[in-house]
Each structure stands twice: as structure tokens, then as C-alpha cells.
């Protein structure tokens, strides 16, 4: 079939519509959790600035992790449990390091913005950023590995499926992690 034919465009329309339906429904679920977050907004001034950055950071980290694993699976470079263990060991440090360092930098920048521009001293923003990223990593690192492997085992292409889905899952887990972090801190 031609890549740019009317038939292909029609098929694309169906595939895009279906994946969008799942993606935006997941987005709405993240929005429901965001409502709970909003209840703490007066306690945590600056949270509206912090949360989009944290969601973006987690989405990027885990979609890259899924893409790295998908590439190796499709190239048949991960065949045994030992190969998978090796992949996990190489990635777990990088994911933890990136989550904690980037969230710390983001938390500090948001803290200073809120301090100098909005004249509110709220160091909890930094703690929330780091702690929620820690919770998110503990939940999402194994989940991303497991779902990518599961998709591959069912003879589906993880590159097509994991990309849009992992960012939606990531949004939901990130918001839940922020709520848990706030509850621990306050």
C-alpha cells in the first residue's frame, strides 16, 4: 500500500483517533488526581508552577527508558534474563540520578522564583519535587520495564505502543506521587 494514499490516510485516522481516545482519557484520570492536589494549593504556594515541570520530566525519562528497551528488544539484543538484568543495572542508576538531580534543580528554580517574584518563602516546594520524584521512580521504573516486556512478548511493536501510553501513565503516577509527597511533608 502507498504510504501517502487515501487508504493509508484513512487507516492513520483510525489509529490516531484510537490512541488519542486512550491518551486523553488517561489525561482526564490524571486531572481527577490533580483536583486532590488543588486542595493543597494554599498550603503549597507555587505548586501550579512546579507540577507541569515534574510531569514533563517524568514523561521524558520513562518514554526514553521504554524506547531504549524497545530498541534492544527489536534488535534482538536482549534474549536472556541475564541480558535484561544487565540492561536494568545500567539504567537504574541513570534513571534515579536524573530524576533526583533534575527535580532538585527544578525545585530550586521554582523556589527562587516564588521567593523573589511572588514574595513567598516556601522551601517545601524543593522537598516536594525531590520526594515525589523518588516515589515516582520507585513505582514507574519497574512498571515501564514490565509493560515494555509484556507488549513485546505479545508480538506487538513496543515502539508504537509505549510512546504515547507511557507519557499518560507517567502523568497519572506523577500526580499521585506529588500528592503522597505533600501528605508526607505536611
Amino acid at each position: 500500500m502507498k504510504l501517502f494514499s487515501k487508504k493509508k490516510l484513512h487507516e492513520d485516522a483510525i489509529e490516531i483517533s484510537l490512541s488519542e481516545f486512550i491518551s486523553v482519557t488517561g489525561g482526564v484520570i490524571a486531572g481527577i488526581f490533580l483536583l486532590d492536589l488543588l486542595q493543597n494549593i494554599d498550603l503549597l504556594f507555587g505548586l501550579l508552577i512546579l507540577y507541569p515541570g515534574l510531569l514533563e520530566m517524568n514523561g521524558n525519562i520513562y518514554s526514553s527508558l521504554a524506547a531504549r528497551l524497545s530498541n534492544l528488544l527489536l534488535l534482538e539484543k536482549i534474549k536472556t534474563k541475564h541480558d535484561l538484568k544487565d540492561f536494568i543495572l545500567k539504567n537504574i542508576f541513570a534513571v534515579f540520578f536524573l530524576s533526583l538531580v533534575v527535580s532538585l534543580i527544578l525545585g530550586l528554580i521554582v523556589y527562587f522564583f516564588v521567593y523573589f517574584v511572588l514574595h513567598t518563602n516556601n522551601l517545601s516546594l524543593v522537598y516536594t519535587a525531590v520526594l515525589s520524584s523518588l516515589f515516582c521512580t520507585i513505582i514507574q521504573f519497574p512498571l515501564t520495564i514490565y509493560t515494555t516486556m509484556l507488549v513485546y512478548k505479545h508480538k506487538l511493536d513496543p515502539e508504537n505502543i509505549m510512546g504515547p501510553d507511557i507519557t499518560t501513565i507517567s502523568d497519572i503516577i506523577s500526580v499521585i506521587s506529588i500528592i503522597i509527597a505533600i501528605k508526607v511533608l505536611i
Binding site: L3, F4, L9, D12, A13, I16, S17, S19, E20, F21, S23, V24, T25, G26, G27, V28, A30, G31, I32, L34, L35, L38, I41, L48, I49, L50, Y51, P52, G53, L54, L55, E56, M57, N60, I61, S64, R68, K90, N91, F93, A94, F97, L98, V101, V102, I105, L106, I109, V110, F113, L118, G163, P164, T167, T168, D171, V175
Partner: protein, 184 residues
């Protein structure tokens, strides 16, 4: 790829991407009170940013394939590009309408948020205008940027997907906040 290489390749993009999104979050501070009053606006936010982000990824990957097949040399607006634009506009308009109604429904069920027809119309207008505006910007950036990248032997996917998703995040939050500020 070892840990050191992953960290080295990812850290800059992660910091810039998350800062841009948080910059978009600053515009939400402008409508803080309205967000606490009109709860469906909060429910719809992650879906809205997800949706326009997906649009960016789809547009760039389609245009990149089109470029690699040599179908996109002289004219910027070919029939395929126009068809793709109209198709995405249709799909994302339907998604925007679906997400608005779903957010209103959940707001009503979960928080007892009652609304009148005027509020429904205004919210629908805000979501649709935000979606149209960002898709138009993303499409223009992808069209011009992909040709630029292609001519310089840079993979348009690598260059433009992070750029369009950042524009989508930042642009959608700013457009949404401004529309909520002026319309509601």
C-alpha cells in the same frame, strides 16, 4: 549504553524541557482563583497538554517520512500536507469536545460542580481555541523546521520532536490561561 552516557545525553534536554513546562505553569498562577472555582478546568489540563503534545509528535514524524521519500521538495503546501492538517484538525477537535464533556461530567459526579449552558460553551471555546492555535503553530514549525533540518543533514525527528512538544506544553498552558482569564 551505560549510565554515564545516558545521563550525559539526557540531562540538558530534561532540564530545559521541565523548565519550559514550569514556565507555562507560571501562567496558571494568573488564573489560580478561577481554577479553584471552576474545577473541570483542572480536570481537563493534563489531557489538553497531552493531546497537543501528541499532535506535535505525529506531525513531525509524518512530515519527516514524507521528506525522506523525496515528496516534499519545492512546494511547502502539497495536497498531502493539507489533507494531513485537516485530518489532524478533525481528530483533535473531536478529542477536545470529548475531553471537555468528560471533564464536566466528572466535575459534576465527583465534586458536584453544577454548570449552565453558557459555561459549557465558554469552556468548549477555550479548549477548542487552545487546540487549534497550538496545532497551527506546531504545523508551521514542523513544516519550516523539517526542511531546514533535512537540508543540514540533521534528523528532523531528533531536532523537532523535543521542540514541538516543548511548544505544545508551554503554548497550551499560556493560551489556556489567557483565554480563561479573559473569557471566564
Amino acid at each position: 549504553m551505560n549510565s554515564k552516557k545516558i545521563i550525559k545525553e539526557s540531562i540538558k534536554v530534561l532540564i530545559i524541557g521541565s523548565l519550559l513546562s514550569s514556565f507555562g505553569g507560571m501562567s496558571l498562577e494568573l488564573i489560580r482563583t478561577k481554577l479553584t472555582l471552576f474545577l473541570p478546568l483542572v480536570i481537563v489540563l493534563p489531557a489538553l497538554t497531552d493531546m497537543v503534545g501528541d499532535a506535535g509528535t505525529i506531525v513531525v514524524s509524518k512530515i519527516t517520512t514524507y521528506l525522506y521519500l523525496g515528496k516534499f521538495k519545492k512546494k511547502l503546501l502539497t495536497k498531502f500536507i493539507l489533507d494531513l492538517f485537516l485530518l489532524l484538525l478533525k481528530i483533535f477537535s473531536i478529542s477536545a469536545i470529548y475531553v471537555t464533556f468528560l471533564a464536566l461530567f466528572i466535575g459534576y459526579i465527583k465534586e458536584g460542580f453544577s454548570f449552565n449552558f453558557m459555561f459549557l460553551l465558554k469552556m468548549l471555546l477555550i479548549i477548542l481555541i487552545t487546540t487549534f492555535t497550538i496545532i497551527l503553530i506546531i504545523f508551521s514549525v514542523a513544516l519550516v523546521g523539517s526542511r531546514y533540518a533535512f537540508r543540514r543533514n540533521i534528523d528532523p525527528d531528533d531536532l523537532l520532536i523535543p521542540i514541538t512538544t516543548a511548544i505544545a506544553d508551554l503554548g497550551s498552558l499560556i493560551t489556556f490561561s489567557l483565554l480563561v482569564y479573559f473569557i471566564l
